[in-house]
């Protein structure tokens, strides 16, 4: 599916010659998908846009490599995933270093949330907190499981596309997603159990 000559593959000749029109067309065709991939990792629209832009800067910088890429879109999504994961790692380091991260704001949530959730601010905040906890739990998984799970949550990506991004077979991707779910369930169960014990101890005091 990704080997046949498609409008995406056709760019490599134009882009290799540094045609800015070809690059603009590439950005135009891929920007929303790249943006949504980044968003599924970083959970914040502004950060996702930043990461998407960083992705295209990297694509532009690595133009010479495009000649060797048979699957242009998978290569771009791979860069997007890598940029997003690096961003998350950097955020964690900043938090550990005591630097204040962006405060959780309801505006972040309401901006992109569907109408019913947006009318219930408590639920919106609870959902944001669940995503934060999920992100922490995902950080404990092996990288490939993490990527496979997150990408599987994006409707815009098929399992074949995920396999192309991970440079793995379809059965391997299915196995990664299955193992990711099991590991996440264990991790999250342990987290909520510990949290509940902590709350009980605090109440007893």
């Amino acid at each position: 599916m990704f080997q046949e000559k498609t409008p995406y593959n056709d760019y490599s000749e134009g882009i290799g010659g540094k045609s800015s029109l070809a690059f603009r067309q590439l950005v135009e065709s891929q920007k929303n998908k790249v943006l949504n991939i980044c968003y599924r990792f970083v959970h914040n629209k502004e950060d996702a846009e930043d990461m998407a832009q960083e992705t295209f800067i990297e694509v532009h910088r690595s133009l010479a490599e495009l000649r060797n890429q048979s699957d242009l879109s998978a290569w771009i999504y791979r860069i997007a995933v890598s940029k997003s994961l690096n961003f998350i790692r950097m955020q964690k380091r900043q938090k550990r270093g005591g630097k204040m991260g962006k405060p959780i704001s309801l505006d972040d949530e309401i901006e992109g949330v569907s109408a019913p959730a947006a009318t219930n601010p408590d639920e919106a905040l609870a959902q944001k907190e669940r995503r934060r906890i999920l992100q922490e739990a995902l950080g404990t998984l092996p990288k490939n499981q993490q990527i496979a799970f997150v990408l599987s949550k994006y409707d815009g990506m098929s399992y074949e596309e995920i396999a192309a991004v991970l440079q793995a077979s379809l059965p391997a991707v299915e196995s990664l997603i299955h193992r990711a779910k099991i590991n996440l369930q264990k991790e999250l169960y342990g987290f909520y159990h510990k949290k509940s014990n902590k709350e009980k101890r605090t109440k007893d005091l």
């Binding site: 832009q53 959730a117 509940s196 009980k200």
Partner: protein
């Protein structure tokens, strides 16, 4: 601490809700200024790259010839010092000749008159 069934059910529900929290993330569309901001960042990136290449070229132009001269000078100095440090072999040659005269088997050389030893 043991947990009862209600609590266990509660944990399981929370786990499932947490795992499903990415399901309702909305589909985003890049804003109309995406290209403008991208072009600005690309221009900034290329300026930074050009500056670092320019500064490298500046240093290479000045240091290159000086480095070359220094290398040639160092080679000549090494050759000169190597030649100067060559040991004087004339004294050694004299000693070897005298030892050879004394000990080499030849008629009339007393050292080789075995019967007398």
């Amino acid at each position: 601490m043991s947990i009862d069934n209600d609590e266990k059910k509660h944990f399981e529900d929370e786990v499932l809700r947490t795992m499903a929290s990415l399901d309702d993330l909305p589909h985003l569309e890049a804003g109309p200024d995406f290209h403008i901001r991208l072009n600005q960042r690309l221009a900034q990136f290329e300026t930074t790259q050009r500056k670092s290449v320019t500064s490298l070229t500046w240093w290479a132009r000045r240091l290159g010839p000086a480095f070359l001269i220094a290398m040639i000078g160092a080679n000549f100095a090494t050759i000169y010092l190597a030649v100067k440090a060559r040991p004087d072999t004339s004294y050694r040659d004299q000693c070897l000749t005298s030892i050879a005269d004394q000990y080499c088997p030849s008629a009339g050389n007393p050292f080789w008159e075995i019967g007398d030893r």
